[in-house]
């Protein structure tokens, strides 16, 4: 049988020598005063091979203990136990690089274990592209502290002051006499540090030691191959979908056929005679069938006869009516306007006023693999095997949902399909836990494709109105942004009273979440500017497939589509080169440049123009002859401290309406780069995800249900759409680029922001036609070209 998945091979090897499990180790340190029969980092087959005896309770690990973070093994290698999850962007590899640098180890001497709640501290799992920007800091400080303690021990052992010691690959030696040496393994291998750390919260965790200056980092900036890739390529990785436990049964959900329908009755006899039948579980409007085998459960879910009572009023408008509805609705809440100067007066006095409306529909996660989890209730406690990116929140949420003590619940995190916010509200994890406790045996639940595409969490739809004023010389003097987001009741993170099973079973919050609408993130200096935001709600607030949650940079693609398209429209009205028009807005006088964001915005803009080979001219270009029209578009944005600019070159087919992004160039400044190769690929994937949102993605619905239910009705980018060339330029636009305290910022989500606008701007450049409604599917493009006689 294959190796368990959450433990990298080097950890398994080390474990074989180490002969102690993580929690054995912690128990031995006195941090956990419990006995332990099984290895908690072993899952699936490994558990099946051993009696799955109760292993809990599972108290929280103390982040103020060095031993909770780092274990030095007898062979001098080090394992970091990180409270994070790597969703395939290589954050685990980056953590290992940082660990190797702070501990003076070779990269191969490091390993990392992530995300399982009983063996790692709670850093919240993943989210916000902050793994390196925020969560790596306590890891680095703890690693530096471990090195300090090890050097103190070596100094005592070798009888020389710490200042006379040097370290390489985990071996401490006397600088003047390299024969006098001792290894980390000899000093502490397999034993506890017993060092107490400080910090008011986990992000602030620190010992006495300081992290190394950037100039001393050797592994940072290199690109070691991601350790997680080989097992994803040779088939040995055990994913969360692969967990099999003794006595495990399979569950499938039966969703309401119409949004907001209530369950009036279930005819259990319609499935009771099917092979493998175990149980029909209903509570409120939640229905699931449980069978011995997976295909039996699928058949049972299709065959179960339920009576549903349709809601008296329509749950939502149709997707074609959505933007009219949103613009006419009375907002459920409005943000405080962000005001600079007096935009209304400036607009009234402007030489030219431009106004435009932009619409972005609901877009779904539509993960490759539908939601899934397996829960084991053996021994009156729960183990949930899950790909939840926020496994720690799943643990707390499930405990609250099922009213179990938190220390009776653990989540074992395993790899899963793309989790760009979807598993932050991990419906399947809660369902598996609920069903397992109902049945008293391990339950595996997985959603079907139609269920996932229709009912996963959605990125909110946006309707934005923008107005801008130019003076007689074409200078932007006033900018007005007014956004409406269909984002009422935006889901929180694994809340016990907002996940779908909680909604359907009636365990829901008294008050829906207010939601939010966001404002553009740019460094443009405009003398008069006003930004207003509103949230509108659809009629059905709970138990709706149009529930909003975080989708990879939750509002950025929508907001930036409007704001960066509009800047281009203003540049065109001014008959200015779109790059020069933006650059003029950066260089306007300012005294607010926190984090040098304005300077770095200029740097990425210049870098992307240079890498693309941008020729300065206004858009659109003179209309070309022939069926294929070519153009280029620019857009820019930041997220937190990370700044990006992108140029997309498109080919628009005049007869078919097909848009091909032939080339994409991205300039990206996230400060200190840990692993350029992994970062580059993350940027490429993020941009193509946004390209898919630009060209194809839209949740369609009639007035009763979502009608996007599979890959035919919910099209996505394919290999056929792949750009011929992508250039990623990693920029360091810091005014002191070699400074020793250059911080790493976040990466991943920022690149999702500008791409939709860059595509629209390129289409405009190619055709002279402005698309203000996402997505740019061929039929919509063709209709717009026809309307403009292109």
């Amino acid at each position: 049988m294959s190796a368990p998945s959450i433990v990298p091979p080097q950890v398994l090897e080390a474990d074989a020598r180490f002969r102690a499990t993580r929690r054995d180790f912690l128990a031995q340190t006195g941090l956990l005063v419990v006995g332990l029969a099984t290895a908690p980092t072993l899952v699936g087959d490994a558990l099946a091979a051993q009696p799955p005896t109760p292993a809990g309770p599972y108290p929280d690990l103390d982040f103020r203990q060095l031993d909770s973070w780092i274990v030095i093994r007898p062979d001098s290698s080090a394992t970091l136990f990180a409270g994070k999850t790597d969703l395939g962007q290589g954050t685990g590899t980056a953590f290992r690089q940082l660990l190797a640098d702070e501990l003076d180890l070779a990269y191969a001497q490091t390993s990392v274990v992530m995300g399982s709640t009983d063996v790692t501290v709670d850093q919240g799992g993943s989210g916000g592209s902050d793994a390196i920007q925020v969560d790596a800091w306590p890891m680095r400080r703890v690693a530096a502290e471990a090195r300090r303690v090890l050097l103190d021990m070596a100094a005592a052992r070798l009888g020389v002051p710490v200042g006379e010691l040097t370290v390489a690959d985990g071996v401490v030696s006397v600088r003047a006499d390299a024969t006098r040496r001792v290894s980390y393994g000899d000093l502490i291998g397999g034993r506890r540090f017993n060092v107490v750390l400080e910090g008011r919260n986990i992000d602030a965790t620190t010992g006495q030691a300081r992290v190394k200056p950037v100039s001393s980092l050797r592994h940072v900036g290199q690109s070691p191959a991601r350790y997680d890739i080989p097992a994803k390529v040779d088939g040995t990785l055990k994913w969360a979908v692969d967990v099999r436990l003794p006595g495990m049964v399979h569950a499938r959900n039966v969703k309401p056929p119409v949004a907001g329908a209530t369950l009036a009755g279930v005819d259990e006899a319609s499935v009771r005679g099917l092979p493998g039948f175990v149980r029909v579980v209903t509570r409120g409007n939640y229905v699931a069938v449980v069978f011995e085998r997976e295909e039996q459960a699928i058949r049972g879910a299709r065959q179960l006869k339920c009576q549903w009572r349709e809601p008296a009023t329509a749950p939502f408008p149709t997707s074609d009516q959505l933007f009219d509805y949103m613009r006419a609705a009375t907002p459920s809440s409005s943000g405080a306007p962000v005001v600079v100067g007096d935009a209304a007066t400036a607009l009234a006095g402007a030489a030219t006023v431009v106004e435009a409306r932009y619409d972005v529909p609901f877009q779904g996660h539509t993960a490759m693999g539908p939601a899934h989890a397996t829960a084991d209730p053996t021994g009156g406690q729960l183990t949930i095997y899950s790909n939840d990116m926020k496994s720690y929140g799943l643990r707390s949420g499930v405990a609250e949902f099922l009213k179990m003590p938190r220390d009776r619940v653990r989540v074992v995190w395993m790899d899963g399909p793309q989790a760009y916010g979807r598993t932050a509200a991990d419906d399947a994890g809660f369902e598996a836990a609920f069903l397992a406790t109902e049945l008293g045996r391990p339950v595996r639940v997985q959603w079907m494709r139609d269920e996932e595409t229709a009912w996963d969490t959605k990125g909110p739809a946006y309707a934005v109105t923008m107005r801008g004023g130019l003076d007689a010389s074409g200078r932007l003097v006033a900018l007005d942004y007014d956004a409406r987001a269909a984002d009422h009741n935006h889901l929180g993170y694994n809340e016990h009273d907002t996940v779908l099973v909680a909604q359907l079973t009636g365990q829901r919050k008294q008050t829906p979440a207010r939601g939010r609408a966001s404002t553009p993130s740019d460094m443009y200096a405009v003398p008069h500017r006003r930004q207003t935001t509103h949230v509108v709600s659809l009629p059905l607030v709970w138990e709706t497939p149009l529930r909003t949650g975080n989708l990879r940079d939750p509002d950025g693609p929508q907001v930036t589509f409007a704001s960066e398209s509009f800047i281009d429209e203003l540049a065109a009205a001014a008959k200015a080169d779109p790059a020069a028009f933006r650059r003029a807005l950066f260089t306007a006088a300012t005294d607010d440049d926190s984090g040098f964001k304005r300077a770095r915005s200029i740097a990425v803009l210049d870098a992307v123009l240079k890498a693309y080979g941008w020729d300065a001219r206004p858009s659109p270009r003179p209309r070309a002859a022939g069926d294929v029209l070519t153009g280029r578009g620019l857009a820019y944005a930041f997220r937190s401290q990370t700044v990006v600019a992108q140029v997309v070159e498109v080919e628009v087919h005049r007869r078919t309406g097909r848009v091909w992004a032939k080339r994409i160039v991205c300039a990206h400044d996230c400060g200190l780069v840990i692993n350029p190769a992994a970062l580059t690929r993350t940027i490429e994937g993020g941009m193509l995800h946004s390209l898919s949102r630009a060209l194809y993605e839209e949740v369609r619905f009639d007035g009763r249900k979502v009608t996007s239910v599979d890959w035919a009705s919910s099209p996505t980018l394919t290999h056929a759409d792949t750009p011929e060339r992508i250039d990623v330029v990693l920029v360091n636009g810091d005014p002191r680029p070699t400074r020793d305290d250059l911080p790493p910022y976040g990466a991943g989500e920022t690149v999702c922001k500008p791409l939709l606008a860059a595509v629209a701007n390129a289409i405009f450049d190619a055709t002279g036609v402005r698309l203000r409604r996402v997505p740019f599917r061929p039929e919509r493009v063709l209709a717009a070209l026809d309307a403009a006689n292109v």
Partner: protein, 164 residues
């Protein structure tokens, strides 16, 4: 009536209804994990296996229909402890993000290169067009296919010099 399956060079006898989709038998009876459920409709490719050298979507293929045929899953692609050149190219190019779809990407690419050892870019796009990836690793997948085929990479060289 047991069904005999030849999978990765070994024979297995399974006692399931012949109409059972092959995917569930491979995963739940034979314990394989290369093919994964993505859509159950044959639209995405995550469940791909090789049947007599063809890329087949096991979620819509009845088990009874592949009795006696030579089935290869991702686990069976390596020979004598050596990765298939396509798999090696995937590592060299550092293709996967989450990796959930890569079973289908790798096996579909393998069949492409079996039949068209030196594919053009257009042939790569066409052959791979129905194998979906929602992390959007398409650009690197195509680069890895060219790498496995020994073609001059058209991907711009990494600024970082590629992965070590």
């Amino acid at each position: 009536m047991p069904i005999t399956l030849r999978v990765n060079g070994r024979s297995h006898s399974v006692d399931v209804e012949p109409a059972t989709p092959l995917l569930y038998v491979l995963r739940n009876d034979l314990g394989l994990q290369g093919p994964r459920f993505g859509c159950g409709l044959g639209q995405c490719g995550a469940c791909t296996v090789l049947v007599d050298g063809d890329a087949v979507r096991s979620c819509v293929r009845q088990t009874g229909s592949v009795q006696g045929r030579e089935i290869v899953t991702l686990e069976g692609l390596a020979q004598n402890g050596r990765l298939h050149p396509v798999q090696q190219a995937w590592i060299d190019e550092q293709v996967p993000q989450c990796g959930f779809c890569q079973n289908g990407q790798i096996l579909t690419a393998k069949v492409l290169l079996d039949r068209t050892p030196k594919p053009t870019d257009a042939q790569i796009r066409e052959a791979m067009a129905r194998t979906l990836c929602r992390c959007m690793t398409y650009y690197r997948v195509q680069a890895a296919i060219r790498r496995a085929a020994g073609l001059t990479p058209t991907v711009a060289a990494d600024a970082d010099g590629g992965a070590a």
